[in-house]
Symmetry: D2
Amino acid sequence: MLSAQDFKGVYGILPTPATDGADRWDATDTVDLDETARLTEKLIADGCSGLLALGTTGECATLTGDEFEAFADCLLSTVGKRVPVLVGATTLGTHETVRRLRFLRDRGADGTMLGLPMWQPCSEQQAVKFYASISEAFPDMAIMVYANPHAFRFSFPVSFWGAVAEAAPTVTSAKFANPASYLECLAASRSKINFLPIDSMALAFAQQSPDAMTASWATAACMGPQPCVALMKAIDAKDFDLARDITKDIAWANETFIPGGNVEEFGKFNLQLEKIRFQESGYCRPGPIRPPYDIVPDEYAEGARECGRRWSEMVKKYTSTGVRQ
Amino acid sequence: MLSAQDFKGVYGILPTPATDGADRWDATDTVDLDETARLTEKLIADGCSGLLALGTTGECATLTGDEFEAFADCLLSTVGKRVPVLVGATTLGTHETVRRLRFLRDRGADGTMLGLPMWQPCSEQQAVKFYASISEAFPDMAIMVYANPHAFRFSFPVSFWGAVAEAAPTVTSAKFANPASYLECLAASRSKINFLPIDSMALAFAQQSPDAMTASWATAACMGPQPCVALMKAIDAKDFDLARDITKDIAWANETFIPGGNVEEFGKFNLQLEKIRFQESGYCRPGPIRPPYDIVPDEYAEGARECGRRWSEMVKKYTSTGVRQ
Amino acid sequence: MLSAQDFKGVYGILPTPATDGADRWDATDTVDLDETARLTEKLIADGCSGLLALGTTGECATLTGDEFEAFADCLLSTVGKRVPVLVGATTLGTHETVRRLRFLRDRGADGTMLGLPMWQPCSEQQAVKFYASISEAFPDMAIMVYANPHAFRFSFPVSFWGAVAEAAPTVTSAKFANPASYLECLAASRSKINFLPIDSMALAFAQQSPDAMTASWATAACMGPQPCVALMKAIDAKDFDLARDITKDIAWANETFIPGGNVEEFGKFNLQLEKIRFQESGYCRPGPIRPPYDIVPDEYAEGARECGRRWSEMVKKYTSTGVRQ
Amino acid sequence: MLSAQDFKGVYGILPTPATDGADRWDATDTVDLDETARLTEKLIADGCSGLLALGTTGECATLTGDEFEAFADCLLSTVGKRVPVLVGATTLGTHETVRRLRFLRDRGADGTMLGLPMWQPCSEQQAVKFYASISEAFPDMAIMVYANPHAFRFSFPVSFWGAVAEAAPTVTSAKFANPASYLECLAASRSKINFLPIDSMALAFAQQSPDAMTASWATAACMGPQPCVALMKAIDAKDFDLARDITKDIAWANETFIPGGNVEEFGKFNLQLEKIRFQESGYCRPGPIRPPYDIVPDEYAEGARECGRRWSEMVKKYTSTGVRQ
C-alpha cells in the first residue's frame, strides 16, 4: 500500500470529460471515454508521477452511479498500474462510499481521495470515525484525505491529523492547502501522512520541511503539467533559485484565476472555473459542465480563460528550452 | 397536480426505519420494510392528511440507490393514493435527482420534497435554474422546496420565491421555517406557493395570514400526530384560544429538544436527535442511525429522550379527552 | 426600576440626528441638537410609550465621547421623565461601557439598551458574565439586551436567557427578533424578561403569548409611529382582525426595505437604510450618515426610499380616519 | 514617512501592561506605566527593529480614552524615535479614529496599525474608502493595514490591495497572515505595500520573494525576541539552512498555543492566550486581562502556558550559544 514516503513528484488531477449536451437536465451517459483515455495517456507522457480523479474538478457530485463506474473503469484500465491512481468516492454517506470503494478496489485503484460526507457538518469525532471505518473496510487501499475546509465545513485542525493518523492507518496523504499549519500537522501525524501542497505552494512547503515535501498536486496539470514537473524537479535538486523562478511563472499564469483573490467566492464556482481554463488552454477537452453547477458570472469566466491562455504560453517555455531536462 | 391550495392539515414526516446493524459500515439492505408499512398505516389512521419522506430525518443522505427504491416503493404502495405523498430526491447533482424522480413518478408519488444540490453553495440564479429544470422535466409532479438554510447554505431570500414561482410552475409548496418573512415570501410568490410552517409555529403563521396557512409539517408526528392534528383543527375552526393551549403543550414537550436552544448546533445533529426522540416515544421503531451521522453528544441525546417521553405523555391527553373530536 | 411587566406599547428608536457635513472625516461636533429635541417631542406626542436610543440606527458606533454626552443629555432633558428612556452604551469593552453608564445614570436614564462587546465573538459564559457585571455595577438601571445575532456574532440561545435572568437581575427586557424561540426564551427567563418584538411581528408574538407580549420596538417610528401605536392598541384590545389589517399595511410599506429579503445582506447596510427611509418619509431630518458606514448600493437605497414614501402615505390613513382612537 | 522599503527586521508587538485589579469592572486607570517603559526598553535592547502597539494583544478594545493616551504617551516618549513605532487607533468609527490619530501624530508616532471599523462588516468599497480617508487626513503617518479576516469579517482579497495602494498612498505595510496569496497581493499593490508575515512564516514568505520579505511581526517577541531576531538575520544573510532550524525551534515552542490547531477557535481567545504565555515566559508582566475578554477555557490556558515555558527555554539557546552574533 502507498505509504507517506511513496508519494513523489506531481499528482495531476483529472476532470471527468463530458460529451456534448452533458449540461442538459435530461442527459445520461455523459462521460467522454475517448477523451478520458487520451488525457490520461498525455498526463503520464508529460511527466505526472501519479493521478487523482473524481474530486470537485472531477464532478464527483454530478455523476450518476453508472457514469462513476464507466469513468473509473476507463481511467484505471488505461493507466494499467504504470503510476499510482487515487480515485474519489466521496458521497453523502458511509454505505454508498463503501459500495463505490468496492468497485474501485476490484478495478485496481491504489487508493482513494476522500472527502467528508457533507449533509451535516461533521464534528471532529465524526470525521475521525468516518475515516477509521473506511480504513477498517479497505486495509489495502491508501486514503488521501481531501482536506477542503470550505466544501466540507470542517476546519481539519491539527488535532484531527493526530487522531486520524492513529485511528485510520491507511490515511497516508492529504490534499492540503494550509501552509500556516504545515509543520504542526506533520508533527501531529508523526510523519505518517504526506501533506501534498498545490503546485504554487510547493516551494513554501519545501522550505519548511524539505524532507517531508516530496509531492504536490496540480489541477493545473490539465493545461499541461510541464511547469509543475519542472518545479518539483528543481525542488528535488535543491535548486531553490530555479524553483522560485518557476513559482513566479505559475503565479503570473494564475493571476486572474481566483475572482478578486477571494478564496471563499472561488469556492462557489471552482469546478466551473477549472473546466473553463482547461478548455481555453487547449490541452484537453473537458466538455460542458454538468448541472446544476453550470452557471458562473461572466467576469469570473473571463479570468479563468485568461489563466488558460497564459498557462498555455508558459507551457511552451517549459517544453522548448530544455528546462525539464 | 397538487396546487398551493390543495395542502391541508398535517403533513407527517417519516424516518426511513432501519434494521438492526444498520449503523455498521458494512451493512447493506438496511430498510425495515415491515416497520415502514406499519408506521405509514398508523400515521394515516391517526390523522395525517399527507406524508413527507426522505428528507434529513429520512436519512436521504445515507441510503444507497437500492435502499432508496425499496423504501419509496413500500411507502407508496402502502399509501395507495389515500393521502398525498411527497418523497425526497435531493442528491448532489441534477442528473441523479432526475433519475430518482423518474422512479418516484412511475411508482405514483404526488410530488417531491426537494433541497438544493450542496457540493457548492448555490447562487440565487443557480437555485432558481435547478428548480426550473426539474419543473420542466416533471410537469405533473408537485415540488415542495426544502428550504433549510443551514443544510443548503442558501438563505432562500424573498427574491428567490418570486423568481422560482415564475420559472418553476410546479413549485407549489415549501417546507419553511422563517415566520419573520412569511408575508413577504407569500406576496413574492403571488400565492402560488404554500409555505408550510412547523407545527409549533402554525398559530403564529395563521395569525399573519389565516387564509394562506392551511397546512403544517411535523417530524414530531412520528411520536404521535394527534396534538398536531388537534392544533390544525382548532386553527381551521378559528378557535385561537384552544390553538394557543395546544401550542403551549407542544412547546412544553419540545423544551429540551434543541440543544441550548441553539439552532445552528441542532443542525449538526438533527437527524440523530429526531430518531432518538421517536424511539423513546414508543410510537415507532426508527432503528439505528446510519453512518457516518451516528454520533451525538450524550447530553443532547438525553434532551431528545426527554422530549420523546413528554410528547408521549401529551399524546395521551389528545387521545383520551376527546379534544380531537 | 423598570421590570418586565412595566414595558407597554411602542418603544420608538431614535437616530442621532447629524449636522451638515457629518459624513466628512474631519467633522466634529456632529449632533443636531435642535432636531434631537424636536423629534423627541414629536415621538411622545404621536404616541410612543417609551424611547430607545444609541443602538445601530443611533450610530452609537461612530459618535465620539463628547457627541455621546451631548446627544444623551439633550434627549434625557427633553423627555424629563415623561416616558421611560433606555440609552445605548455598547462599546468594545466593559470599562468604557461603565464610564458611559455612569454618565447616563447621572442624567436620569431609566436604563440602557446594551449589546455585547464585539472585538472577539463572546462565548455564552463571557456574555452572561458581561451583563452580570453591569447589573452589579448599576443595580437601579434596567438593561434591555440588544439581541442582534449578526452584529454581535452570538446566537443568544435559550440557555443564555436562563443564565442571564439568574445572574443579572436588572436584565428585564430584550430587543428581540426570533419568533421561533419566543416561548422557549420566555420560559427560560421565568418571565423575568420582556422579549419585545419588532412592530411587524407583534401580532405573531401576541398569538403565542398574549399576556407576555405587552410592548414592541419600532425603528419605523421615526417615519411616524401612528401605525405601530394603532397596532399595539388593537392587540391590547384583543381585536386581532384589526391587528391583522394593520400588520398587512406595515408589511406593504416594508416590502422593498430588506434588499432581496436577505437579512444577512441587510445587516451590512442597516443603519444607512434606516436613515435613508427616515429622511424620505419627511417625518424627521436624520441628516448625513457618519463615516465609514456612509456607503450603500444605489438599488438598496432606492428600496429604502420607496419604504419611506409608502410609510408616509400609510401614516395619513392612521391619523385621518380615527383608527387611533 | 516610512515606505514599504523601510521596514526591516523584527517588529515586536506589545501588550498594554495592566495594574492589579484591572480585570474588575470598576477598575480605572489600569495602565502599568512602569512596566510599559521597562518592556519597551528591553525589546529595543534585545533586538527589535520596530514596535507595534494597541492591536488585539494590546487590548485596544478595552482601554478607555484616557488610558489610550497614557499608554501611547509613555511608549512614544520612552522610544524617543530610536526605532519606528506604529500605534493602533482602531475604533468603531472614522471620527474617533481621527481623534486618536491626532493625539498620536502630536506625540511623534511614525504611523498606525489600523484595522477596520467593525460594527458592520465592510464591503470592499467601504474598506478602501476608510483607509483613503485616513490617508488624506494624515499624509505624514504610515498606515499598516491590520489584515485580520476573522476579527474584521473582511477577507482582504487581492483586489482590495490593488485598490487601497492606489487610493491610500500612506498604506505602506500590512500585518499579514496569508502565505497562499502573498505574491498576488504583492503584485496587486505594485510593491507599494510591505506584507509583513508572522515570525513563524517568515521563511516561507522569503522563499517566495526574498527581495520583498524584509521584515516580520512577532507577538512572541514579548517572551523574548531573540529567536525572531536570529531568524531574520539568517534570512537576510540568505542562510536558509539556519533559518529553517530556527523556524523549527519556533514551531516546537508554539506547538500547544493554537487550541487544537483551530485558528477560528483561537480567534475567540487570542488576546487572553497571548497575555497568558507572556506572563508564563517571565519576560514581561502583562498583568490581568481587562473585561469582558478575561475568560478562557482552562485547557486552552494551559496550552498557552506550555508555549511560554518552551519559548523561555528556547530563548536561552539564542542568547547563550552565540547564534545571534
